[in-house]
């Protein structure tokens, strides 16, 4: 049996061509973890480039009924979302592996922007695959990537969203594997990607736990994060997973509920909970938020669901929009539509202190919000 399994989930369901590259990545990652210079460089970039630690903010007017809602402000990271935590770390890995060309997929464009950003900083060639429907929905991010020197490749088939963009990025990687590093944006894909992304995003949970203790003198009863592929949620949950009294709540888009409504299936190199039909064919996801519009999810989330350690609920497009407006009007913060799903569910949790991952800012979504 292969490594990298989370209970029944995970693994490496990829063409043989990629297996040696995954072995090489795993080896390079293990060496990096043992190298104090890697940790030091990551730390340095985190504080001087990304803007860490990000604040924990007590959203008093947004909360109601005596409840406290603490927002982990990943929207204040450089480039406006948590995606940069992962991109910075993986770009360091790519450089250590001697790769000069980076491919990535993007849905909302936040991971594409983060990848284009770190490539510009490191002088790496950058190609980002993006569904043409997402290019329309998230046009400012397309322009941003181009200004950063990345080549944005439209993906014109299937749903023209994140699923197809991911498949195309993987096909590019298959064709250029000797020179190219695949910088995946979420805790999905074949082993060791889910483990690498979790590790790089776990800084969110580590900081949040410490900040919550400082701010309210105790742990929150619940930690809430939106889940598309699940990287900001896995990073936030990582800080609290050992604190068994803390509820971990993942919020999916109602039309893309891989955990709440999926079945065990294989997508993009891993077995996980996926929106698929009874024959294993992948179904289309639907969400107002391009970042959640994905039929799969990281294998560790499927494992956390089955084990009962985390629970997964959904929010509709309308609920997310209402939470978006409420946060804007009560706190002066425009959230991305993705974490607006988490905000929507945080409001109806029966808890005194709720910590919410505010994974990104909403500038990219203004067109979508104003069109409603």
């Amino acid at each position: 049996m292969s490594t990298g399994v989370y209970g029944a989930y995970g693994g490496r369901y990829v063409p043989e061509t990629l297996v040696p590259a995954l072995d090489e990545l795993e080896q390079g990652y293990k060496l990096a973890l043992r190298d104090p210079a890697f940790a030091a460089e990551l730390e340095e970039l985190g504080s001087r480039y990304v803007g860490r630690p990000t604040p924990l903010y007590d959203a008093e007017r947004f909360a109601s009924g005596g409840r406290r809602i603490l927002l982990k402000r990943e929207d204040l990271c450089h480039t406006g979302a948590h995606k940069i935590n992962n991109a910075v770390g993986q770009a360091l890995l790519a450089t250590r592996l001697g790769k000069q060309r980076i491919v990535a997929e993007t849905g909302a464009g936040q991971h594409g922007v983060a990848t284009a950003t770190v490539c510009a900083r490191s002088g790496l060639e950058c190609v980002v695959y993006m569904g043409s429907e997402d290019m329309r929905r998230q046009h400012p991010n397309v322009e941003r990537m181009r200004l950063l020197g990345a080549e944005v490749q439209p993906v014109e088939f299937g749903t023209r969203t994140l699923k197809e963009a991911t498949s195309e990025a993987i096909r590019d990687w298959i064709s250029n594997v000797e020179t190219t590093y695949y910088l995946i944006g979420s805790c999905v894909g074949p082993h060791p990607y889910p483990a690498i992304v979790r590790r790089l995003q776990s800084v969110i949970g580590r900081e949040a736990r410490k900040q919550a203790l400082e701010m309210v003198g105790r742990l929150p009863e619940a930690v809430v994060a939106c889940v598309g592929g699940g990287s900001n949620a896995i990073g936030l949950f990582a800080g609290f997973v050992e604190d068994h009294q803390v509820r971990l709540v993942g919020v999916e888009a109602a039309g893309a509920a891989s955990l709440a409504g999926g079945r065990t299936a294989v997508l993009h190199g891993a077995r996980s909970s996926v929106l698929a039909d009874e024959d294993g064919q992948i179904l289309d996801a639907h969400s107002i938020s391009a970042g959640l519009d994905y039929p799969g999810v990281g294998p560790e989330h499927a494992f956390l669901r089955d084990s009962g350690r985390a629970e997964y609920v959904t929010a509709t497009d309308e609920e997310a929009l209402a939470a978006f407006h409420r946060l804007a009007e009560t706190e002066g913060i425009l959230p991305a539509l993705e974490p607006a799903h988490a905000l929507a569910r945080a409001l109806d949790l029966d808890a005194e202190v709720v910590l919410v991952g505010l994974s990104g800012r909403g500038d990219k979504d203004l067109g979508e919000v104003l069109a409603r």
């Binding site: 043989e16 096909r171 294993g280």
Partner: protein, 230 residues
């Protein structure tokens, strides 16, 4: 004589096309069971898969197609598909139902030798595969090894991949099983060049394109490939 393997996508016309493949002189027929997200496939196979799915070619229909093809021709039949279909259908159940429908073996494009090792199938090796992994694939493979000639996805290339010769040489060192070369073999000249190195060739995307013009065109194309390998 070198072995000629032809790939067709499962569909309503496949039995008739399979007869043309046999008449053209092929030795083995691979039948694609379409998957919605085929990572190893280039545009031609991907388009064929999309059409097949739109025409209702789900797993049960594909097995039915396999059975119908088996009634018409005597060639060994090898379904080629993706792990997602087996995961949904049940790994062993898929293998046994495919055998019952006439399959002689199985190819799963995204299942490296160390995943689901107990499932008997034709293993693939690629130019990037290490010697250690070639040995693993050779040890587990079912009958022959599928040599992926290119570092890339399926589909035509302008020339035969220079990576094939060293791959054949490395593979020969560890195994005596027949080696059939595929991915990027699209015309008689390339097939002849590949067959000088390997024991056989697999032609997929180019056969699908020929099949679009009907059974006669497909038979003519297969005959040309056959003549080039003779």
């Amino acid at each position: 004589m070198k072995t000629l393997v032809i790939y067709l996508m499962a569909g309503h016309e496949t039995p008739e096309l399979a007869s043309a493949v046999e008449a053209g002189g092929a030795d083995v027929l691979e039948i694609g069971f379409p998957f919605s997200d085929p990572l190893a496939d280039g545009p031609v196979v991907r388009r064929a898969a999309e059409r097949a799915l739109a025409a209702g070619m789900r797993t049960a229909a594909c097995l039915e197609c396999l059975r119908d093809v088996g009634k018409r021709i005597d060639l060994p039949l090898v379904p080629m598909t993706y792990a997602a279909l087996l995961e949904a259908y049940g790994w062993e159940r898929f293998a046994s139902d495919a055998r019952a429908a006439g399959a002689t073996s199985l190819i799963v494009a995204d299942l490296p030798a160390d995943e689901q090792p107990e499932l008997r199938r034709v293993q693939l090796v690629a130019p990037t595969t290490t010697d250690e992994r070639i040995a693993l694939a050779a040890e587990h493979t079912d009958g022959w090894l599928y040599l992926v000639t290119v570092t890339g996805t399926t589909g035509a290339r302008s020339e035969l991949s220079p990576a094939l010769a060293p791959l054949v040489e490395r593979t020969r060192r560890v195994t005596d099983v027949p080696l059939y070369a595929g991915f990027g073999v699209s015309n008689p000249a390339q097939a002849a060049a590949a067959a000088e190195l390997a024991d056989g060739v697999v032609v997929g995307s180019a056969a699908l394109l020929a099949a679009e013009d009907g059974p006669q065109a497909l038979e003519a194309f297969v005959s040309q490939l056959r003549a080039a390998l003779a």
